[in-house]
Symmetry: C2
Subunit: 341 residues, 2 copies
């Protein structure tokens, strides 16, 4: 067995994945539905349990895990220097609607709890970790002015400017989804965070489904709205065209602020990139040329491995990087095993 | 005479200032209306002439100028690695309306032309240089996550994130005024850049004057609209409240993207900060708390010297900094002399 052994965990609003890697590649991977009941340490307890399970699968003793990288939905606050998760996807106490989540958590002490078991824990917002992974191994290799944007259930981003990874005071940089794209709140769609008029509330996957349901009464998944678009459905076309245009305005805004050269897109919505690309490119290209020309928009090259590599990147030794860049060992990752809750 | 001798130039849409400094302070300062006629080297020629004039006033030979710092309105492009100015405030060829400016310039080769006379020239966007100055000598001392925003004829910004000054591929980072704050262009106010729906088109000084003129037919300066606000004029109150609220949404957006801790404001509009502060603070505080709480909004401490110090900061030797920080020699700058065009 090649040492060191590293654990990587990706925490999303619906699913948590955990994997074990050594220099040769990702040895095993598991996933499980995100725990949202119990007290506010339930999630770190789940993560620890999943690492135990994936260690068994990988044939590694838990005590051999040298470091843990955690990529997670966010935002964070800091308490005594440690990151605390204050994500409205997970913490029911933070949402105005009491019925959305089955808990009243105000925060999750992720950093403090995980460090009890894994002293070498590094935690990052999932879009900041994604831009690290894309710059190391994906579509952003060698680019010092790089924006990664996920277009999914939410919209988030991560960026390098002048070769510097933007983190910010609480590691909350690039919450692009929670920027206002309206001058008013009144009559604007509500975001998951409770505010109105955010980019995410107009252009993320659920917004596409919501707009279709409001127009037709049919509650269908965003992917189904795209299917109807392809069939020529006018309502679906109008809704997707508008979401794409507004998403592109978000890309313009991030570019105007960061002066990045390359935009790498990830997330579930870009599975329909063939439909979206002309819409996004046209709107982006129509904006003030000195700030937008010479910018390339492309897709993630790490596809289903992005979350694993993103978390792993946080703790990966420098010595692994050239080998992984050349050999892409993540492509040989064994099939992920589902853990029942 | 203490060496080195440094020249600092601040280029705005209406006025250019030039000053000469040594370690003891700013020795002399001149200003002149910005030249907008002739060919596209007219502005660098003007800058060179102003430096000649201010050298004479300071009793310094032009050949003694060791370095030139230039703080300018922007944006920039790069040609052969050198910054070229493509500002719609100066280049008539970039504006859709042919009558706004008396030239058809597509760009100004500022960097290349000035380097012919001053090999040690450093050029920066005026808001990026302002954040450097505020962090060295002003309201941002010691803050690694710092946003400077100018609220004036335009809206622009500069920022440090994690102690790194954001520049970007063409040194155009933090063009906050040219971010969209609407989902559509249709029926939205036009920005100076030609786009519609930009933050600047809603909240900068000229937008306040325009909205007042549209509501009342009276074409008065923004400062007069504030005077009417103080007298209880309802139209003025409504317009200023809206501009302040929308400006605050711009501050929220920049904070959501950069996770900065301190916002320093400069520019002509904040002369009425006593009126604006409660409006801006209330709107800012109403946004998604995990991304906005713990953020302080304050004013520039460099007031009328900000432009001079900003340009000078680009070329100031490290050894001057502790002395200037302690002694604030800029406060003893001789009165600026107006040069006729």
């Amino acid at each position: 067995m090649h040492l060191p052994v590293l654990a990587a965990v990706d925490i999303g609003g619906t699913k948590v994945t955990a994997s074990i890697s050594n220099a040769d590649g990702i040895l095993a991977k598991v996933y499980q539905e995100t725990v949202k009941t119990g007290d506010n340490t339930a999630l770190p307890i789940q993560v620890d349990g999943m690492i135990s399970a994936v260690c068994r699968l990988a044939g590694v003793k838990k005590a051999e895990v040298n470091a843990l990288g955690v990529s997670t939905c966010s935002p964070f606050e800091r308490r005594d220097g440690k990151l605390v998760l204050v994500s409205p996807n997970l913490c029911g106490g933070l949402t105005k609607d009491r019925h959305i989540l089955p808990n009243r958590w105000m925060d999750i002490p992720l950093d403090a709890e995980l460090r009890k078991h894994y002293p070498e824990t590094v935690i990052g917002n999932d879009c900041i970790t994604a831009v690290v992974a894309e710059r190391l191994f994906g579509a952003g290799i060698g680019e010092d002015n790089l924006l990664y944007v996920t277009w999914s259930t939410g919209i988030g981003a991560g960026a390098y400017v002048d070769g510097h990874l933007l983190c910010g005071k609480n590691a909350n940089a690039l919450h692009l989804g929670h920027t206002f794209i309206t001058t008013e709140n009144h009559r604007q769609p509500a975001c998951g965070c409770g505010d109105r008029g955010h980019l995410e509330a107009f252009a993320a996957g659920p917004a596409i489904a919501r707009d279709f349901a409001e127009a037709t009464g049919d509650r269908i998944a965003p992917v189904e709205v795209f299917r109807l678009y392809r069939q020529g459905n006018k309502t679906a076309r109008g809704i997707i065209q508008r979401a794409a245009r507004i998403f592109a305005r978000g890309l313009v805004n991030a570019t105007a602020l960061l002066d990045t050269r390359l935009i790498v897109l990830g997330g579930s919505v870009i599975k329909d990139w063939d439909v979206l690309e002309p819409l996004v490119q046209e709107e982006f290209a129509s904006a003030f040329p000195p700030l937008t020309k010479g910018v390339t928009i492309t897709l993630s090259r790490l596809s289903q491995y992005l979350g694993d590599i993103a978390a792993l990147s946080l703790v990966m030794p420098e010595s692994w990087i050239p080998v992984w860049k050349a050999e892409k060992p993540w492509e040989k990752t064994p099939k992920a095993v589902k853990l029942e809750t």
